[in-house]
Amino acid sequence: MTTAAIEFHNVSKTYQRRFSEERIEALADVSFEVMPGEVCAFLGPNGAGKTTSISILMGFLFADAGDIRVLGYAPGDVRAKAQIGFLPENFAFYKFLTGPALLRFHMALAGIPGSQADNLIGELLAKVRLHGYESLRIGKYSRGMAQRLGLAQALMTNPQLLVLDEPTSGLDPAGRKEVLDLLTALKSAGKTVFLSSHILPEVEQICDRVVIIDRGRLVRAGPLREMLVSNDRVGIVVDRLPEDVALMAVQRGAAIERGEHGLRISIDAAHKREITELLWNAGCDVISLNPVKSSLEELFLQTVKDHEGAQ
């Protein structure tokens, strides 16, 4: 049996303000797993508990209850950390260092010998488009440059697991595209990626699994493909649509739009047989009939809305 790269079992965490009775429940009984080789998007609105979860995962914070394993080890275990590349949210750096000096420092911490460092630094800086800025102090970097340097340090050791907290934060569209290409390449190389991001259309392109939390509670978790498929609605693509059939479809709550391959009728699954028969009888060519796929953004917004409603 394959061991999960990340295991969160019934994890809870409460913050208590100093000199106060006030308690803030950051995580409540959160459970999920990420398997090796998966790209998992960790989603949630601001203050949902994403950074707390990532901090617990990395061993920076301690859970009040629950069991957490990272690559089979307890959080903070150096054997696990040796195989993890981590990019914190708003990556902080030593402003007095240059990019290569920071990477050299991290290489020393990772146990990479100095003899290998120079070549590796050159490669990494080229990969994140920071070559040509070798002598510039990090304090003078733009936010995007600092983020790219953060990515370079996360990728430095060719890690098995990448934990990225908002990796595209501060990047321009071209920079975001590069990060996505990089993540796609990592996915192809069989790496496990656990990332939190607010830019859902981009995340949707690369992730296999989605974990959604809201107000410290797990709202939904599972493979993205299964989550995006709706069992409630179907999409029927036809070459043409007679007016009377269109009217009947609209009366049954259908939405009609012109698509790439013809007219697309989106309708409740309960009416799919009736409308399809009408279309056949009217002599229309039914090109396809598929369950409607929503976007990750729609899924996320709907899930959070439902959760808020339930609360």
Binding site: L61, G76, A82, I84, F86, Y94
Partner: protein, 267 residues
């Protein structure tokens, strides 16, 4: 390799710390200010007898050294508190501890970085001592080794106390407590006699609990005004220094233990 990298990075970081740069600027100002009376003393050498001039110059140098030694203790405490708290506050600690680095290794690297800074400070102080005495036309004949080792151990104790406190407290509070400790040490030591307003039981309790920096002071056997070392057995030096190192070690181990369970967040 990891601890060395953290120590060197801490040293480099402290050299870029604005407060410490301000301190260094103050150090240079003291040097420039003290040059005037010493040059004056040298010019008076023709009108006064030699022993009077020597006494004047060496007492001046001794005063500056005491001042710089006190500043050194505060610098050690502040640097240690800031080295750890600054990393937590800025968030740089997260990327460092995401590497295969244990928390005690991180703390030890920080501690050694502070000791490196203090070693540089001591060397600067020593050079200044000889330089100022030279300006006054005098020379210090004492062996420089105790002048390096004793302050280094004293600063190691102060920085370990500050590091212990900062694992749980705000750096300013930790620094303030070290400051209070430094004052209380003077009030409860044997040199304070019976003049202290503290009750005897509290005085003796604090005396045993707090580090005896009097024992770790080079003034115990060195009087710059006499420009020579008092004869002290090597075993006395060894015991005094071992006591200081032991105290620093206990404080550091306690700090490492507390730091192991500390939550690391920017808030």
């Amino acid at each position: 390799m990891k601890i060395r990298a953290i120590a060197l990075n801490t040293f480099s970081s402290l050299l870029h710390n604005k407060l410490i740069l301000l301190f260094c600027a103050g150090f240079v100002c003291v040097l420039l200010l003290m040059m005037t009376p010493l040059m004056l003393a040298k010019s008076m050498a023709r009108t006064m007898n030699a022993s009077q001039v020597q006494g004047m110059v060496l007492s001046e140098v001794s005063g500056i050294m005491s001042l710089l030694s006190g500043f050194g203790s505060l610098l050690a405490a502040w640097a240690a508190a800031d080295a750890v708290a600054g990393e937590v506050k800025s968030g740089t600690i997260l990327a460092v501890l995401a590497r295969p680095v244990r928390r005690w290794e991180f703390l030890l690297g920080k501690y050694l970085g502070v000791q490196l800074l203090m070693a540089v400070y001591i060397v600067c102080t020593l050079i200044m001592t000889y330089f100022l005495a030279g300006i006054g036309g005098q020379s210090i004949q004492s062996n420089p080794l105790p002048l390096v080792v004793y302050p280094l151990v004293r600063y190691a104790v102060y920085s370990a106390i500050a590091m212990l406190l900062v694992t749980r407290l705000h750096p300013v509070v930790a620094f303030g407590i070290v400051l209070v400790i430094a004052v209380v040490i003077g009030m409860v030591g044997p040199s304070a006699g019976q003049s202290s307003f503290l009750p005897a039981w509290l005085r003796s309790g604090l005396y045993f609990l707090l580090p005896s920096t009097g024992l770790l002071s080079e003034t115990r056997f060195l009087t710059i005004t006499q420009a020579d070392l008092k004869p002290v057995a090597w075993s006395s030096h060894a015991i005094a220094l071992a006591y200081g190192l032991d105290y620093a070690l206990i404080c550091f181990l306690l700090a490492a233990w507390l730091f192991q369970r500390r939550s690391l967040s920017r808030e």
